[in-house]
């Protein structure tokens, strides 16, 4: 044994802690120049103990972190359950509203909207439940779980409002339909980017509706849709969007606009668009 007697104590301490035999231990058993260095750089036995204490504390620290991660996962699990229910309801509303694309459904819009509004009560209940699942100041931490479904719901609410009154739903009105807040500091709120995304989905749906209403023999609707979408388009053009998902979706808006323009054009050259048509007149001139 070449180790000094002063080392013995701490080494026993190490073994008592139950670590695997460390290279440190083996090293001190080696003879030769290494040991001299070891004595030079490593004069304090308590340091050995400290290394062991460190190992224990590292484990402790990591178990604390593990604890918080697990808690986080539990919260996410709870949220996911509620969001599933929410998605189910959103799908039901969508199926209900999809029927306006059929000829029979187009004639029965008020009752469809009425039914959809009843479904939104279920949505309110779900969202109420969702609010209780996480601390109110951590909205954006778990945001991505309900972001998709919330955008869908905004779209559906906007669609209902459009079908009822042919106006663009305001942010406040959507929040009212969903039973949530407009501003962040008041609780579970409606994020502005989600709202805008919802409107873009609406534009897409309306471009489809324009086609189908022509098929169903309603020739005036595409004109109204066209002016609505144009207003929406010029509204969106006021925004300075970043290169994110909203921007990507906005890039699709021009195709919806174009599609509706083409429907309007087809109607105009055939003289099918009834009544108010400065546009129709223009085209006829040309």
């Amino acid at each position: 044994m070449c180790a000094t007697s002063g080392r013995k104590g701490p080494r026993e301490g190490l073994v008592a802690c139950g670590p695997p035999p460390s290279p440190l231990w083996r090293r001190s058993c080696l003879c030769g120049p290494l040991d001299k260095h070891a004595r030079l750089f490593f004069p304090l036995p308590p340091r050995l103990i400290r290394v062991m204490v460190v190992m224990m504390s590292v484990t402790d620290l990591f178990s604390v972190i593990q604890g918080s991660l697990t808690a986080d996962q539990d919260v996410r699990e709870e949220i996911r359950k509620v969001v599933q229910g929410l998605e189910q309801t959103a799908r039901e509303i969508l199926t209900l509203l999809q029927t306006v694309h059929q000829t029979s459904g187009l004639k029965d819009i008020p009752s469809k909207c009425q039914k959809a509004r009843e479904h939104f009560n279920a949505v309110k209940v779900h969202l109420e439940e969702l609010k209780t699942k996480f601390p109110p100041d951590q909205y954006y931490r778990f945001n991505e779980h309900w972001r998709f479904v919330l955008q869908r719901l905004i779209f559906l609410a906007a669609f209902v409002v459009y079908l009822e009154s042919e106006t663009l739903v305001t942010r406040e009105a959507v929040a009212g339909v969903l039973g949530i807040e407009v501003h962040r500091d008041k609780g579970f709120h409606l994020d502005i980017e989600d709202y805008l995304s919802g409107l873009l989905i609406l534009a897409n749906e309306l471009s489809r509706l324009a086609l189908n209403s022509v098929t169903a023999g309603d020739y005036s609707r595409p004109l109204r849709i066209s002016s609505f979408i144009n207003e929406l388009d010029s509204g969106f053009r006021l925004l300075n969007l970043k290169n994110d998902s909203l921007r990507k979706r906005y890039d699709g808006l021009k195709y919806d606009v174009k599609k509706i323009e083409e429907v309007v054009y087809d109607l105009s050259i055939r003289g099918l668009g009834k009544g108010d048509g400065p546009t129709e007149g223009k085209v006829a001139e040309k």
Binding site: S22, P23, L24, R27, L30, C31, G32, P33, L34, F41, F42, R47, R50, V51, V53, V54, M55, S57, V58, T59, L61, F62, S63, V64, I65, Q66, S68, L69, T70, D72, D137, Q138, Y139, Y140, R141, N143, L168, R171, R184, D185, I192, E193, S227, N230, E231, S234, G235, F236, L238, L239, N240, L241, E261, E262, Y265, P278, T279, K282, V283, K286
Partner: protein, 299 residues
């Protein structure tokens, strides 16, 4: 063959026709736009959306810039701390780094000021790289000082900015965002999240590996063993967390294992051949051994 040809010609004809069509709708569209009343409720509300979005993006950009500054400063601190292996006066170096940490914390304080009244998680992505780098630097300093891992609470304790420190700014901010008196305590703290902490610690292991190898080059044969102990403990910790952690953590685990492998390799060589090789050649022997896996590493 003929049918195909006719299909082609008709389609190209249709295309040409379509192109011609497009001219007219565009003209019409411009006219239509002039018809839209610029003070219609829709456009007015979009103007307010524009303001809201711009304010948000501006804030995000400011945070990104602060985060970049923090990253750069923290990297410099780490380089500074790597010098401990080559000089004797460690205390002076640590004090110097302490001064630099003061500057970094000032930047973090600015971040926390930006976030007053905001949801921290909303902008988290903007400043989390900077915070991770900060965690890396401060835990490295802590390791050099005490040979132990700094805890998340301790890091966060440094990031609570006492009102007395920035009394002037504090009152100014309060004046700006009046009616926030109740939140005054929270105003000046920015908490590092467990994920940022984990990622920062994972980066730390790379620095420790470098420190281990350089210290061998300087003939210090005690540090490598301490570092390997410590790294093993951290590696155990990470395996304990495993895949319950976020995705980025499991990505770092691979690099961590490589670092650990290098350090363990070095310790092995020291133990086996340390007595045979003259001290001044140790570095050469080890570097030839580690260079095999060096190219896989990307710091």
């Amino acid at each position: 063959m003929q049918t195909i040809k006719s299909w082609f010609s008709s389609s190209s004809g249709g295309f040409r026709k379509r192109k011609h069509d497009n001219v007219q709708p565009r003209n019409r569209k411009e006219e239509r736009e002039s018809n839209i009343n610029p003070s219609s409720p829709v456009l007015l509300s979009f103007k307010s959306f524009q303001k809201e979005l711009d304010a948000k993006h501006d804030k995000y950009e400011r945070l990104v810039k602060l985060s970049r500054d923090i990253t750069i400063e923290s990297k410099r601190i780490i380089f500074l701390l790597h010098r401990v292996t080559s000089i004797s006066d460690i205390e002076e170096l640590l004090n110097e780094s302490e001064g630099k940490f003061g500057d970094v914390r000032l930047k973090i304080q600015q971040i926390s000021q930006e976030l007053i009244g905001e949801d921290t998680c909303q902008f988290h992505r903007a400043f989390s790289p900077g915070l991770q780098e900060y965690v890396e630097a401060i835990s490295f300093q802590h390791f050099i000082r005490t040979r132990s891992l700094i805890s998340l609470e301790e890091i966060n304790r440094h990031l609570v900015f006492a009102p007395k420190k920035g009394e002037a700014e504090n009152s100014e901010v309060l004046a700006l965002s009046n009616s926030q008196d109740g939140k005054q305590k929270q105003l000046f703290c920015l908490q590092v999240t467990p994920t940022d902490y984990l990622l920062g610690v994972a980066d730390l292991t790379g620095e420790l590996m470098r420190m281990c190898i350089t210290s061998i080059g300087n003939g210090d044969i005690e540090t490598p063993f301490e570092v390997s102990q410590f790294l093993r403990a951290i590696y155990d910790g990470f395996t304990y967390i495993g895949n319950t952690g976020p995705y980025e953590v499991s990505k770092k685990l691979y690099t961590l294992k490589q670092s650990l492998g290098k350090v363990e390799d070095a310790c092995y060589t020291l133990t086996v051949r340390g007595s045979e090789i003259p001290k001044h050649m140790l570095a050469d022997v080890l570097s030839s051994k580690t260079s095999m896996s060096e190219h896989e590493e990307g710091i």
